[in-house]
């Protein structure tokens, strides 16, 4: 079996900007949010007022960033459904394969059953997780946050849905789910060939792939270029 290192352009610039803006925003939201809820124990953002202002600003940035993401994938790249919505086969077959790989094959040293390409970036497990996170959790946590910023004008509507406390509880629990996802997300990102292998493409855009000539899952995308030409470009 002959193998050669190749690079594929996996993460276009707008996606990378969005990702790191989102990452920075969500970490800020988690830290400031923790201080807002537990001000006796957490004072990392300084005064309570600073924590509130930081949280509100980061919240608006993340909500705008989410809109930017949706706009880009839906109308600019048009790949939203293809990238984020798992197909039936992926759910019935790919998901089991991927789970089996993570919890068995990986430990045995088997190669990953899925290789990312620009048009199919996520394995079935990632697709399912991101579908829940990006289409349910993030929109809901943003929506409840925006509502919390406008309690006065929404008072009567809030009373109809059970009051302000319902909104706060939803926002808090959804944020915890997002926090739990973040821990898993960062850990899974270290499962590449090296711990930083999956972090690099999100910074540079290019992912290094071991190209096996006998591998049917190899990337054949037009974006693919050889390691040598990538070096000469730089």
């Amino acid at each position: 079996m002959e193998s050669q290192s190749k690079y594929i352009y996996l993460q276009p610039t707008p996606v990378r900007i969005w990702h790191w803006l989102n990452a920075f925003g969500i970490v800020t939201l988690i830290i400031s949010g923790a201080q807002i809820r537990f001000p006796e124990y957490i004072t990392i953002c300084g005064s309570y007022r600073s924590a509130i202002l930081l949280h509100n600003t980061a919240g608006i940035v993340v909500a705008l960033s989410f809109s930017f993401w949706f706009f880009y994938y839906k109308w600019v790249s048009g790949a939203l459904t293809n990238i984020y919505v798992p197909k039936m086969d992926e759910l019935s077959n790919g998901l089991i394969k991927q789970v089996f790989y993570y919890f068995w094959g990986y430990f045995k040293g088997a190669s990953a059953p899925f290789h990312a390409t620009p048009d199919s970036k996520f394995n079935p497990m990632q697709k399912s997780a991101y579908l829940a996170i990006m289409f349910v959790i993030v929109p809901l946590v943003s929506l409840t946050g925006i509502m919390l910023l406008n309690i006065g004008p929404l008072r009567q509507i809030l009373l109809m849905i059970g009051g302000l406390q319902i909104l706060v509880i939803l926002h808090f629990l959804l944020a915890c789910v997002l926090g739990a996802f973040l821990l898993t997300h960062v850990y899974l990102a270290t499962l590449g060939s090296t711990p930083l292998a999956y972090f690099k493409p999100m910074w540079t855009g290019w992912e290094k792939v071991e190209h096996h000539h006998d591998d049917e899952h190899h990337a054949t995308d037009l974006h693919e270029i050889s390691a040598h030409s990538q070096v000469s470009k730089n």
Partner: protein, 363 residues
């Protein structure tokens, strides 16, 4: 059968009434002719004219209906207007007054004299009309603010607070001015029964008046709307039951933060400017709560609400939430459990990953 708490409360109530009546003779000393017993008749003499705009005009007009429910009405007109000449209201029969507010309210007067307000408004009557003055607890908490807004422009108040206070309108709509602008160290959560507005764009709270609640309960005992067991004490369960009751869909509980004791120093405590006075002191900040119910005369009365952290729990006061201190401990545990779920992969998978690291070494 009375519980121990009920017996203690009733004993305290009886004692308070006894002390109040014991205090009355001292007031009588000021003018033996104006004891509580005959004050109504004496006031009526004055109000015959002073309740009639056509006779006395605007400046000397007293609203008898409002006045009769004040403590000042109980001590009688002549206690303050202590020299009514015989020829009053004839020409030259001008009523003089040597009694001052400080004669009775000495502590308040001393306290006020050190405030900046005393320079620009030296007389009590600059803010308070003694003929309409009620105790703080007898007035709707945000109505207290009207005393301030007589001089302080409301737009300006909003604008200056907005320079530093996040959610300004929300704060100003849930806290009376004196909650922060006195040296009060403790607060009371005053819970009112408000009416839901069918127009969702109208967010001005509409506090249910006595007549509305009387029609709803078909009784003068409007407190039974919440106080189901009629023990003059509101339990958390009774508040929850009020919220759950479908026949109360037109109503909701609105909480306003008021000081436990109003002072006249009007010094803004540094603690008030630091959000953590309310937002970080834990649920204990809102442990003292009162249900404030309207009375037929337009004033309000207070009923004790069960103390404890449960006031912050779901469905007790749906319209009220104080970030940082209204948090619910069960939800905190649930939140930690969710976050711990996020550690399953890093810790569990990471552990086996470490043990099997040799299997992934490149040939």
């Amino acid at each position: 059968m009375y519980s121990k708490n009920q017996l203690i409360r009733q004993t305290l109530t009886i004692s308070a009434v006894a002390v109040a009546f014991g205090f009355m003779p001292q007031l009588v000393k000021a003018d033996p002719g104006f004891s509580f017993g005959d004050s109504v008749a004496k006031n009526e003499d004055c109000l015959k004219c002073h309740n009639n705009k056509k006779i006395v005009g605007d400046n000397r007009l007293i609203n008898g209906k409002v006045f009769q429910h004040t403590t000042h009405a109980q001590i009688g007109c002549k206690t303050c207007h202590n020299s009514v000449p015989d020829n009053h209201p004839g020409s030259g029969g001008k009523v003089t007054m040597t009694t001052t507010c400080a004669d009775c309210h000495k502590d308040i007067s001393t306290e006020y004299s050190i405030s900046k307000h005393s320079i620009s408004v030296p007389n009590c009557s600059g803010c308070h009309n003694p003929h309409t003055a009620h105790k703080a607890g007898e007035v709707y908490a945000l109505e207290l603010n009207s005393t301030c807004t007589n001089c302080h422009n409301q737009m300006k108040i909003s604008a200056t607070h907005a320079q530093w206070l996040p959610q300004t309108d929300l704060h100003l709509g849930s806290i009376s001015c004196v909650t922060c602008h006195t040296k009060a160290e403790n607060f009371v959560m005053s819970v009112y029964i408000a009416r839901r507005n069918s127009n969702i764009s109208n967010n001005t709270p509409l506090i249910a008046d006595f007549e509305y609640l009387k029609n709803k309960t078909n009784s003068d005992d409007i407190h039974k709307l919440v106080d189901k067991n009629l023990d003059n004490y509101i339990s958390i369960e009774e508040l929850k039951a009020f919220n759950r009751n479908p026949s109360n869909k037109d109503l909701y509980l609105k909480a306003i933060l008021t000081p436990s004791k109003t002072t006249h120093a009007f010094q803004t405590s540094d603690k008030s400017l630091n959000c953590t006075l309310c937002h970080a002191s834990g649920p204990s900040a809102a442990q003292v709560s009162k249900l404030v119910l309207p009375k037929p005369d337009g004033t309000f009365r207070q009923m004790d609400i069960e103390k404890g952290d449960d006031i912050a729990s779901l469905n007790v006061i749906p319209d009220f939430y104080m970030m940082g201190s209204s948090r619910n401990s069960i939800l905190n545990i649930l939140g930690v459990a969710i976050l711990a779920g996020g550690l399953v992969m890093p810790v569990g998978h990471g552990f086996f990953r470490f043990l099997t690291r040799k299997n992934r070494k490149k040939e």
